[in-house]
Subunit: 383 residues, 2 copies
C-alpha cells in the first residue's frame, strides 16, 4: 500500500524461525518436546549484545510488530507507531525482537500447526500455555540470539503481563521493564467477558469441539462474536460515541432488525475481517492465558512479595479511559513495587481511546515512552 | 416458597387481562388492530381514582412486580423490594398497576402470541415497538381503569425511559415521574452491547429467522449468550469482584477449557435459567426499543426543548457504580429539566451493585424513594 516506505519505518521485513528440540515443561503439566517460534527483528544487535529489546504481543497480536512484508501491504506491523527510526523504540539504536507466542496462529507452534507426535494438527489438543510458559520460551529465543540480558522487555495489555512476568521470573535477564495498559491479574469482570467470548466460539456448531479444520470449516459466527465483544472492551464509551455516536447507517430509521446505527456496521466489519485472519483455538488459548495470569498466586496473593525479586527498573503506563485494565490496575503494580523498594516510574496518560490507546501515537504517551527509552539508549552503545 | 407471606408483602396476586379492539398505530408505521395487555394491580383505587401508580418494567421484566402467584413460588415479583405495605410504593395508600409491555413474552400480545390475522404465532413478524408505543398502549389501559391522571409513573432502566416518555408525551396524565437508573438515549457502547446480543441470537442455527417455535426449538445458545453478556453490564466490576473474585470452582487450577472460576459458573447458571423463561424474539424486540429510544430526536437533539412539555414533578435517581447508564446520563436528564425550568429532584445513590442496584433494597435509596412517595401520598387520599 505505501508507494514509498515512510522515512521512520523499519522498512521491508521478513520473519525468521527458531526450531527448538529441547523440551519445554509447561505450567499445565504437559511438555512440548519440540516447537518453533517465528519472530521478527529490527535494527542491529551491537557487539556486546546489550541493545536488545524484547516486544511481547497481546491477545490478537503476532511477531509482525513493525514495517511491511511487501509493498502491497495495506498496513504496517501492529506497533509501527512505536517502533522505527526516531520512534520511541528507536531502531537506529536498538535491536528489537518480537516473537509470535506459543499457541499463536501466525507461524509459531500452536493449534494450527502439526503435532509431530501424531502427524496431525494440534487443534484443541494443543496444551494450555501460560504467561510464564511464554517467558520461558522467549528466554530460549534470547539464548539462541546470544542475548543474556535484554536492555528492556516491553509490552502492552497481555504483552505487559509478559513483561511483568519476565521481571519477576528472570530478574537478571533484563535491565528495564515497560508494562503498558496491563494488570497484575484479571478481575472477575475481565474473566466474565472472556467466558462469554469462549462460549460464543465453543457453541458455534462449526466449532466441532475444536476440530473444525478436519471438517473444512471455521466457527466464523462464534469467533466473530468474540471479536465484536472484544472490540467493545478495547474502546471507551467516549471514543465510540465520538466516532459513531448514534449516526444512522441509512440516514432514516428503518425500524427493523438489520443494521440501523453506524456502530453496528463497524462491529460487523471488524468481526468479519478478524475471522479471516485469526484462529479460534488460539483465541480460546489466549483468553485462558489471560485468565490464569496471576503471579501473586504463588506468593499468598501478596503482590509486594511477588515483585520482591525484580531487579529491572520499571516504567508503568496506563490510560485514563481504559476500562478493560483501568489505571487503578496499573497502580496496584506500582504500589507493590514501591512497597518492595523497587525503582518504578508511573505515567497515567490522558486519552479517550480506551484500552486501544496503547497502540496509538498519542503525543504525551510517545513523549514519555520515548524519553524513557532514550535513557535506556544512553546506557548501551548502538551497533 | 414462603411458609407464610411476609407482613410487608402484597400477598397472593393474580393478573388480569385487557383486550383492546381499537387499533394502535405504531411508530414503525404498522398497526395492531387488536391486542391484549396482561397486568397486575396491588392496593385499592380510591374513589377519586387519584392514587394510582404506574410501574413500567425493564428489558426482562414483566407485569408480576410484587407478591406471589402461589405459596409454591420461589421468589416474589421483580420489584417486591419497593412495592408493598409500608414499602416506598406503599400499597396501603396507593393503587399500583403494572402491565407486561406489548411485544413481551409473559402474556401481553407479542411474538409468542397468535396473530389473529393469520391464526399463527407472530414470531419475528411482530412489529418493532417503541417506548412511545408502549406509553400509548399503557394510556389505553389507564383509560380502561378510569385513571385520568396517574399519581406517578415509575420505572427503572428501560422502565425509567417509559416514565420519561410518559411525562413528555402525555404531560397532563401524570403528576409525578420517577426516572431511575435510566438515560435519555443509548450511547454507541450501549447499542454495541445490544448488537452483540442480537447477533448471538440471530446466528444461533436454532433461531430459524425467528421461526424457531415452528421448528419446535429455541435458540438457547444465542439467548443464553445474550443473557450472560447482559449480566456483565448489569453488575459493576466491583460487585462481581466482591461476589466472585477469582475464586476457583474446584479449589485447584485445572488448566482446561471447562469452568475454572466461580464467575464462569455463575454466568452459565444465569444463562441457562433465563433461556427457560424468556423468549428470544422478545429479547430482540426489547433491545431494539432501547436502541430506538431517543425522545430528543424529534426536537433537533435538544433535550431541553424535549422536556419543555413536562408538567409532572420529577425524581431522578442514579447509582454510582452503574456503568450501563451511569449517573452522568441521569444528569443529562436533570440538567435539561433544570434548563427548561421544571421541578426536578435528583439523587445519586452510593452503591456498588452496578445497574442492578435499582432493584435492590439499598437503605439510602429506599429512604429517598420512600420519602418522595410519601409526599405524593400526602397529596391524595387512600381508598
Amino acid at each position: 500500500m505505501p508507494d514509498t516506505l515512510p522515512a521512520d519505518s523499519v522498512g521491508l521485513v521478513s520473519p525468521a524461525t527458531l526450531h527448538v528440540d529441547k523440551p519445554l515443561q509447561l505450567d499445565c503439566g504437559r511438555t512440548l518436546n519440540n516447537y518453533h517460534l517465528i519472530y521478527e527483528t529490527y535494527g542491529t544487535l551491537n557487539q556486546e549484545k546489550s541493545n536488545a529489546i524484547l516486544i511481547c504481543h497481546a491477545l490478537s497480536g503476532d511477531h509482525h510488530a513493525a514495517g511491511y512484508h511487501s509493498m502491497q501491504d495495506r498496513k504496517p506491523g501492529w506497533w509501527d507507531s512505536a517502533i522505527g527510526p526516531g520512534k520511541p523504540i528507536d531502531t537506529n539504536h536498538f535491536f528489537v525482537v518480537c516473537p509470535n507466542n506459543l499457541g499463536g496462529c501466525k507461524g509459531s507452534t500452536g493449534p494450527n500447526t502439526i503435532n509431530p507426535e501424531t502427524g496431525r494438527l494440534y487443534g484443541p489438543d494443543f496444551p494450555i500455555v501460560t504467561v510464564a510458559d511464554w517467558v520461558r520460551s522467549q528466554a530460549v529465543l534470547a539464548d539462541h540470539l546470544g542475548i543474556q540480558q535484554w536492555a528492556a522487555v516491553v509490552g502492552g495489555s497481555l504483552g505487559g503481563m509478559q513483561a511483568l512476568q519476565w521481571a519477576i521470573s528472570l530478574p537478571d535477564r533484563l535491565r528495564h521493564v515497560l508494562i503498558i495498559a496491563a494488570a497484575p491479574k484479571l478481575s472477575a469482570q475481565n474473566i466474565a467477558f472472556n467466558e462469554v467470548a469462549r462460549t460464543a466460539i465453543k457453541s458455534d456448531p462449526d466449532f466441532h469441539e475444536g476440530h473444525y479444520a478436519e471438517h473444512n470449516t471455521i466457527p466464523a459466527q462464534g469467533l466473530g462474536l468474540a471479536r465484536m465483544l472484544g472490540h467493545i472492551t478495547y474502546l471507551s464509551d467516549e471514543a465510540m460515541g465520538q466516532k459513531f455516536g448514534r449516526e444512522l447507517r441509512s440516514g432514516a430509521l428503518q425500524y427493523g432488525y438489520d443494521v440501523e446505527f453506524q456502530i453496528e456496521s463497524y462491529l460487523r466489519y471488524q468481526s468479519s475481517s478478524f475471522v479471516g485472519r485469526f484462529d479460534a483455538n488460539t483465541y480460546l488459548l489466549m483468553t485462558k492465558a489471560l485468565d490464569y495470569f496471576d503471579p501473586a498466586r504463588d506468593f499468598n496473593d501478596d503482590l509486594t512479595a511477588t515483585v520482591a525479586s525484580i531487579q529491572a527498573r520499571s516504567l508503568v503506563i496506563s490510560f485514563t479511559s481504559d476500562w478493560r485494565f483501568s489505571p487503578l490496575r496499573s497502580v496496584e503494580i506500582v504500589n507493590a513495587m514501591i512497597k518492595a523498594g523497587k525503582h518504578v516510574t508511573y505515567a497515567e496518560i490522558e486519552a479517550n481511546q480506551g484500552h486501544d490507546a496503547f497502540l496509538m501515537p498519542i503525543t504525551r504517551y510517545m513523549e514519555i515512552f520515548g524519553s524513557y527509552m532514550k535513557k535506556i539508549a544512553s546506557e548501551v552503545p548502538s551497533a
